[in-house]
């Protein structure tokens, strides 16, 4: 066949293809585990998400923030009283018993504050996560903590300056302030500094034990005052006409809303709940258990646990779970409304997921209540019990990452998007 005979055919085929070429397509088939099993289509819901958002904002989150501001002020007062006693004891005007009583009161105030704060940890949104979570870290930054940094600032604070610049705790990085620093100052009984020779606080080793206690308590007063200030900053940024709470309440009123839609605002609250996964499960339990890199080459490592001085670790996890349950069920004492994520699931036809998740949360709380020793001691003596707790919490987060997200068409936060389970 001569090439020239193909000319009409070539033109005809080409022309036909030009005409036919009008349909593009992209088709895909996914495995069950693709995208973490979250292959929902983002269907429209009939559930009143605005009502959920309003209830959680007004009756769950805002009261919790207010309560924390109250206990933070009490904490400041208690620490101040204790420090006056420490000074009084040193100059002979206060008995040791009175000093110890006041210190215990300050420690109890810290425990009360921490109980409140650990519930807020599961509500990290808006001002708490703005600016790389600066405000949240100023109040409590664990696991980013440094006892040496606190030791250094005890010395700087009492010297009144840092290399000639007047000391101002509000300018200091968060490892030197907050509830974590205050825990070290109130509960640590070792009066030696925790730094290396190169980073040791100037003059500390030359101080008497009494002077060391007094310097620590004086800095503790500054730290407690700073926590109270931060709590007020949180309320200021949260409340009021321009506060984040109003943004959440206004989420459904586009245009003018800070969110594209109310679902996006609900997703922000859901993002905060995943603290249970990345911090409560992984950082508070998984790392000390050696399930991830830790300070003990992935062996059981009590020194990586939270709250090493107050031994409040288990109570902290319990408070995280209680807060998660409150957000999930919407059940609080100050409201007749009990709208929660469980209701959202039921509305979406996922009653089983709602029940399973609530059971899992209750089971994990019940598990923690069975502990007869601190987390540190249990890690040393019965790590299987801690592993069981971890597994109970994982039972919650497994459902959160799959069914919960999927059924409610929510997006998984980046912190939980990895498959490190």
């Amino acid at each position: 066949m001569k090439l020239s005979s193909l000319k009409p055919l070539t033109l005809a085929v080409t022309s036909t293809l030009f005409v036919a070429a009008c349909s593009d397509s992209v088709d895909s088939t996914a495995g069950a585990g693709f995208n973490g099993g979250n292959n929902n289509g983002g269907n429209q819901t009939q559930f009143d998400e605005n009502a959920l958002l309003t209830h959680l904002t007004n009756n769950v989150i805002t009261p919790k923030f207010n309560e924390f501001e109250t206990v933070a002020n009490s904490l400041e007062q208690a620490v101040s009283t204790y420090c006056q006693s420490e000074q009084g004891f040193n100059n002979g005007s206060i008995t040791e018993q009175q000093r110890d009583t006041d210190r215990t009161s300050a420690q109890n105030a810290w425990l009360t504050s921490m109980n409140q704060w650990q519930q807020i940890e599961v509500m990290q949104l808006g001002p708490l996560i703005a600016n790389q979570s600066l405000l949240k870290n100023n109040i409590y930054s664990w696991p980013v903590v440094s006892t040496c940094a606190v030791d250094q600032d005890v010395a700087f604070f009492n010297a009144g300056n840092i290399n000639g610049t007047p000391y101002d705790i509000s300018n200091r990085v968060f490892t030197r302030r907050g509830l974590d620093a205050l825990e070290y100052l109130l509960f640590n009984t070792n009066l030696a500094h925790s730094c290396t020779a190169n980073t040791a606080p100037a003059g500390w080793d030359a101080l008497t034990d009494a002077a060391r206690r007094e310097q620590r308590c004086q800095f503790a007063v500054a730290v407690a005052g700073d926590i109270a200030n931060s709590a007020q900053q949180l309320l200021d940024a949260w409340g009021g006409a321009n506060g984040y709470a109003q943004s959440l309440l206004n989420a459904a009123n586009a245009p003018g809303s800070d969110f594209n839609n109310v679902h996006e605002a609900v997703n922000r609250i859901s993002d905060g709940m995943f603290y249970i996964d990345s911090i409560a499960k992984d950082a508070k339990l998984g790392i000390p258990l050696g399930l991830f890199d830790n300070s003990c080459q992935q062996n059981v490592c009590p020194e990586d646990r939270e709250s090493q001085f107050a031994n409040h670790s288990l109570q902290n996890i319990r408070n995280n779970l209680v807060s998660l349950r409150t957000l999930f069920t919407g059940e609080v004492t100050n409201s007749q409304v009990t709208l929660g994520f469980d209701d959202f699931l039921v509305e979406e036809g996922a009653s089983a997921t709602a029940t399973n998740m609530l059971n899992a949360i209750n089971n994990a709380i019940a598990n923690i209540d069975t502990y007869q020793a601190t987390l540190g001691d249990t890690l040393q003596n019965d790590s299987a019990q801690v592993q069981a707790t971890h597994d109970q919490v994982k039972a919650i987060t497994d459902q959160m990452k799959a069914d919960f997200i999927n059924q409610l068409s929510l997006e998984l936060p980046a912190t939980s998007a990895g498959d490190n389970d």
């Binding site: 090439l3 020239s4 000319k7 009409p8 070539t10 033109l11 080409t14 293809l17 030009f18 070429a21 009008c22 349909s23 593009d24 397509s25 992209v26 088709d27 895909s28 088939t29 996914a30 495995g31 069950a32 585990g33 693709f34 995208n35 292959n39 996560i129 600016n131 790389q132 979570s133 600066l134 949240k136 870290n137 930054s141 696991p143 980013v144 903590v145 440094s146 040496c148 940094a149 990085v173 490892t175 290396t196 980073t199 594209n260 603290y275 990345s278 911090i279 950082a283 790392i287 890199d293 830790n294 300070s295 080459q297 992935q298 990586d304 980046a414 912190t415 998007a417 990895g418 498959d419």
Partner: protein
């Protein structure tokens, strides 16, 4: 993993010299075929070495070997500075991993343009993972072609922006060879040689190139910041001509490797201002190590009014890049970008990064990742050109088909390190497997284009079809059900006209559909990138004068971008995840003009001017966690697209010597589009760079050349990505000697 460059160079040179000695015996047996016009070589190019007016629509630029030799550049960024419509984000100063975009597509790892070598896709896995971590060594190129506009549909899969074709040296028709050695400051050395021999219908070319440098950056605590690169290529060509047909069979074999002490970590702005070439202690383990091999077989047949080129190719690329990823995530740990952008708030981490302070615990341990990836890319393609008359009209018909397959297999691991007295020390934890997956694509591409010649008017209609069958599979234990299979079918029409005003000038216009596929792991929520691209231009070419002015608009229905570690440390956890931006628009003007004045006494004064104006904006408001974008409001600029770019070159050239100046201006570039990301509101500064080169030809004794890159020793932040401020290359003097036979 890599051979010593010294050994390689010595071996290569010895082989080349030996071959040349053998070849010398046949010096007088000049092949008659050598005198024939080499149509085959022409088909290895996109545009070709046209001496007359190019009547194709689309902005086309050819940088030939003579032009490349003017500045003896090793860096494709510097070479492309003279091409209008090219936007570049520099990174390491050497151009080891180029970031090139055309006409408004973001330059990140050059993944939105087609990069060809001798007409074949040369990216490691152009469909499955288009980021060009491999780029051919430009010192061995004999030409660079840049094509933008409607003819993009001939060179898929990416048709939004354009195509960069890198031409390697063809087997010449004469026996010849060359040795080129050069040295510079910072331990820079280059040795480059080739020898070619033709005997009868058989021709062979061997070429070797090695470069190395100690690097111009100073690592805290000491250490190397340089690189070593080697490249060997061999071509065997056989001509089989008859009275009716000319045929060529050619086999090309290539091997290249690189070891470079490169890092993604840059500096804070304050540290950059004080010591721009500093590298922090935390980058001391940075090491890129790769090997690339290629095999290509070409068959070419040409008759009276047609030619058909068939290429079979296979490229393998294995790379492992060890580099700082992040600090250990402790819930609200800032990214490296955030730390460097605000080192006061993040002083805690900054002190560890710089080695001024030991890390204090788990939370400030450094995570060093090794991204180990294996790629292959293989296929067969045939391209037909056929000129015929039908219905009284001359048709220049082009059609082609390509069966292509590529794959990337990722094995990413991470190790934790403590900073102890300024040195990184293993924390003793086991190596963590962070990512293990495979993405593969099989693609069938077809195009047809017909140019109808109506005297002064040429009308070109074209269509490209792409069918892509892809699969993603998570290879981690227990993740077997994490897979995605996807089939994409797309049709990409294009049309253009060229109207010849006279034999030297014409007007052209074109429109075509732009497309960039999603990678295999992207779910259905990630849309393909698609656009409609328009252009209108004027071209003049006569003797030594050339002028081209092109206006263009790229109207994106959906602009997408992928999150790679080269963008941000935030991408460690979602490496290569793509994001949609919706509608966007890029418009601009490209102007290029050149003329060669004869100023007498056998001296020419070549002068050229290139200018590009870009206006690139998002047309939709959206919120994104992608670090390059953030929360975008319609009207925000697309990052890394300078509004104004310009280059001016002039020289004095005689037959025995030449002196050339090239000055480039790059306008400021936004480093992020919207708000609430680390680099929101931050831009690079506009800056000029002046390069100078000179050469003297000693007739039979070779050529001595001198050049100075960045004569005025200008230093600016060329970008703050991947993490932190990166400097442009400092002033560098080179001296080299080249001998040809």
């Amino acid at each position: 993993m890599n051979t010593s460059p010294f050994k390689l160079t010595t071996l290569t040179l010895a082989t080349l010299v030996a071959l040349n000695a053998m070849a010398a015996e046949d010096d007088n047996a000049e092949d008659k075929q050598a005198k024939k016009e080499d149509a085959y070589h022409e088909r290895m190019t996109i545009i070709g070495q046209r001496k007359q007016l190019n009547t194709e629509a689309g902005s086309a630029t050819v940088i030939d070997e003579a032009e490349l030799e003017k500045y003896e550049y090793d860096d494709i960024h510097r070479i492309l500075a003279t091409v209008p419509g090219v936007n570049i984000r520099q990174e390491d100063g050497f151009g080891l991993r180029p970031n090139i975009g055309f006409r408004g597509v973001t330059p990140e790892r050059s993944k939105k343009i087609n990069i060809l070598e001798d007409g074949v896709l040369i990216g490691p896995a152009p469909y499955s993972a288009p980021a060009a971590y491999y780029f051919p060594m430009v010192s061995r190129l004999s030409g660079v072609e840049v094509f933008k506009g409607p003819a993009a549909i001939l060179y898929g899969p990416n048709t939004v922006a354009g195509t960069l074709n890198l031409q390697t040296r063809g087997v010449p028709q004469d026996n010849e060879g060359m040795i080129d050695i050069a040295g510079s400051s910072d331990g820079y050395q280059k040795a480059h040689a080739y020898v070619a021999q033709t005997s009868g219908n058989f021709g062979v070319l061997l070429e070797g190139l090695t470069t190395q440098s100690d690097g111009f950056k100073e690592l805290d605590g000491g250490g190397d910041s340089g690189f070593e690169k080697n490249d060997v290529i061999a071509k065997l060509r056989y001509n089989l001509d008859s009275d009716k047909y000319q045929q060529v069979f050619e086999l090309k074999l290539g091997y290249a490797d690189e070891v470079s002490n490169e890092t993604y970590l840059g500096l804070t702005d304050a540290d950059f201002a004080a010591t721009p070439y500093r590298r922090y202690a935390a980058s001391q383990l940075g090491l890129m190590d790769w090997e690339h091999s290629q095999v290509q077989f070409n068959h070419f047949i040409a008759g009276k009014d047609f030619d058909l080129t068939t290429r079979i190719y296979r490229n393998n690329f294995d790379r492992a890049w060890r580099k700082l990823n992040n600090f250990r995530d402790s819930g609200s740990t800032p990214s490296l970008q955030e730390i460097l952008q605000d080192p006061i708030t993040n002083d805690l981490y900054y002190q560890v990064l710089t080695g001024q302070q030991d890390n204090q615990g788990l939370f400030d341990q450094l995570l060093i990742g090794t991204n180990d990836r294996s790629f292959y890319s293989q296929g067969i393609q045939s391209d037909l050109r056929w000129e015929f008359k039908e219905w009284g009209i001359t048709h220049n018909f082009r059609s082609g088909i390509r069966f292509h397959q590529d794959e990337i297999e990722r094995v990413h691991t991470e190790d934790s390190y403590n900073m102890v007295s300024g040195r990184l020390s293993s924390a003793g934890n086991p190596t963590n497997l962070t990512t293990a997956n495979t993405e593969e694509s099989k693609a069938i591409s077809w195009y047809a284009q017909d140019t109808l010649n109506f005297d002064k008017l040429e009308v070109t209609l074209g269509l490209r079809g792409e069918y892509i069958d892809s699969r993603y599979q998570n290879n981690k234990a227990g993740q077997e059900t994490d897979w995605l299979e996807k089939q994409t079918t797309i049709w990409l029409p294009g049309a253009s006209v060229f109207y010849s005003l006279d034999s030297h000038s014409g007007l052209f216009a074109g429109v075509h559909r732009g497309f960039i596929p999603t990678s295999p792991k992207q779910g259905p929520d990630i849309k393909i990138e698609e656009s409609v691209n328009f252009e209108l231009g004027y071209r003049y070419q006569h003797s030594t004068t050339r002028l081209e002015v092109v206006g263009f608009i790229s109207d994106f229905e959906n602009l997408k971008e992928s999150c790679t570690l080269s963008t941000s440390s935030d991408c460690v956890t979602n490496s290569d995840q793509e994001f949609n931006a919706g509608k966007a628009k890029v418009d601009g003007v490209e102007i290029s003009a050149s003329h060669r004045f004869d100023i007498g006494a056998g001296i020419d004064l070549p002068i050229s001017f290139v200018y590009t104006y870009n206006n690139a904006e998002f047309e939709e408001s959206f919120e994104s966690t992608f670090e390059l974008w953030g929360n975008v409001t319609a009207g925000n600029p697309i990052p890394y697209l300078p509004e104004n770019q310009m280059s001016i070159s002039l020289g004095l050239e005689s037959t025995q010597w030449r002196f050339n100046l090239l000055s480039r201006y790059i306008g400021e570039m936004w480093e992020a589009a919207g708000s609430d990301v680390a680099l929101s509101g931050v831009s690079t500064e506009a800056f000029w760079v002046l390069d100078v080169s000179a050469a003297y030809d000693f007739d039979d004794y070779g050529t001595l050349y001198l050049k100075v890159d960045n004569l005025t020793d200008e230093v600016e932040i060329v970008s703050r990505r991947p993490f932190g401020a990166r400097p442009s290359k400092p002033q560098q003097f080179f001296v080299g000697y080249k001998y040809r036979w």
